[in-house]
Amino acid sequence: MKKPRLNGMPRVASPTTKTFPWQWVLFAPALLGFLGFNYLPTVASFALSFFHWNLLDVPRFLGTQNYETLLQSTSFWQACSSTLQFVSLSSGLELGLAILLALLVHQQTQGKAFFKACYFLPYVTPMVAVSLVFGWLYHPDGGLLNQVLLGLGVIQHPVAWLANPQTAMLAVVSLEVWKTVGYNFLLIMATLESLPAEWIEAATLEGASVWQKSTQILLPNLIPTITTVGLLTLIHTLQAFDAVYLLTQGGPQNATAVLVYWIYKNALQFFKVGEASAMAYCLCVLIVGVSLLKWWLQRPKKSGGSSIAG
């Protein structure tokens, strides 16, 4: 048995747990939930990716054929290329803007709380409501963007922003970036605020500019956080669905049909369950890969004992 603590005090909970398995009573709901809603579906999804099934008939075993079909289908590769575009544009912008804003807000003397509250607000608002507003902003008939650009004389005729493959992608990216940048911003702010304030004070006394303080003092200390936030953003953008579904329905010409949108369409509109599961697994492997990388990168930092996340 384990040794008793000081003065013979019992270890928390050990006397009663001998008679009654409290730990299992408390842990069971979560455990059942994880098994039923996480692990069972994940395993089932893997199994389904080897079958042909339309949700009605008896599933037919196909072996690896779903994966082969996938690799040969142009639509899969198009979805991959859309996803790549979407992910690189939005995670780049989300990270870059968040760093810039955090560095500047951190060096402000006033209004920090306001900027934090303001930039984070989009993150908590429902995507559907927000996407309606963006739908109007980009609308060809009297949308705000066209009104402004026509007024300034930049364009002569109204542009259908969501009907052109290139601008549609940018429109979806802008919605995603607008909504998420505040989250990254807050994570980076947390690290900045954990740095000793004297560093900045001393540099200010010596007449360093905002740019010098940012690049020479703050940024070097931000690298671990930026890596973590960057990988988080990568995971997050790989999973994007709502913005695409609501703003462009994957169009025009499938230009904005990212992977999750394709999984949704194939599974629940075309009822190609096997193929959708195979696609979902490809995405899963990618995301788990990024997660493992993040976990591996975070490890040495943790053993060092200095972490804001404690």
Partner: protein, 274 residues
Amino acid sequence: MLVNFIKKKSALLLLISFALLTLLPFWAMVVLAFSPFDLSQPLSLLPTRWSVENFQQVHQTIPLLVYACNSFAIAILATVCSLYVSSTAGYALARLPFKHKAVWQGLVWLTLMIPPQVNIVPLFILMKQAHLLNTHWAIILPACISGVMVVLYQQWFASQPVALEESAQLEGASVWQTFWHVCFPLSQGLTITLGLGSFINAWNGFLWPLIVLQEDKLKTLPLALALLKESFRDATNWPLLMAAACVSVLPIIVLYMVGQKLLISGLSQGGIKE
């Protein structure tokens, strides 16, 4: 003078303009919601006439109140259940003895890596088999289970001194009593933060409700909004849509105003681990 001022305050000006850009869609939503529907002239961000017709009209077009109640019921049940499930599991993992604890802990951690999208199809089939499709339980039950919340509760409980619990135990309190009367009340700050987060998540949820709710009278506000938009064929009645959007955003804004500090500080402490 002016040039100097701009140079000195350029960072502040940049931040303010970005803040305006962030708030612009909210401004547009509210202004459009109060603008009269008139196809002859484009909608403006500075309307000359304000009206509440849109709110009355949206109330007549769709049963907005029913959708709002659905959203509320789902969000509140999901929040309460997820707080219960995560706090008990977090406490058990932090304080109680388990055989092979590392395995159970790993099981929780691993769920953070699996993207939810991979589970959608099997979860849909599971709900169908359990006859839970077209019920709110299909949304509430999976929403109760959050690996992040378990991990955050576990870390919080593990960081607390054991003295209080030991004295409670010496006075004959059971494990449940110790948890419920001593430890859980102490975790109030974290509980409010996580509760806010899970309410907002459940309220905003779109993809999963879209899949499992087909029956009209069960739908949530976000689904109703998306449906309302699709119902316009030729000319979209933007003011009407924005009025409905305002209704769906309002509870979130209120919650945000109340709990914004907690939400932001909680996220700063725990968010990096997600």
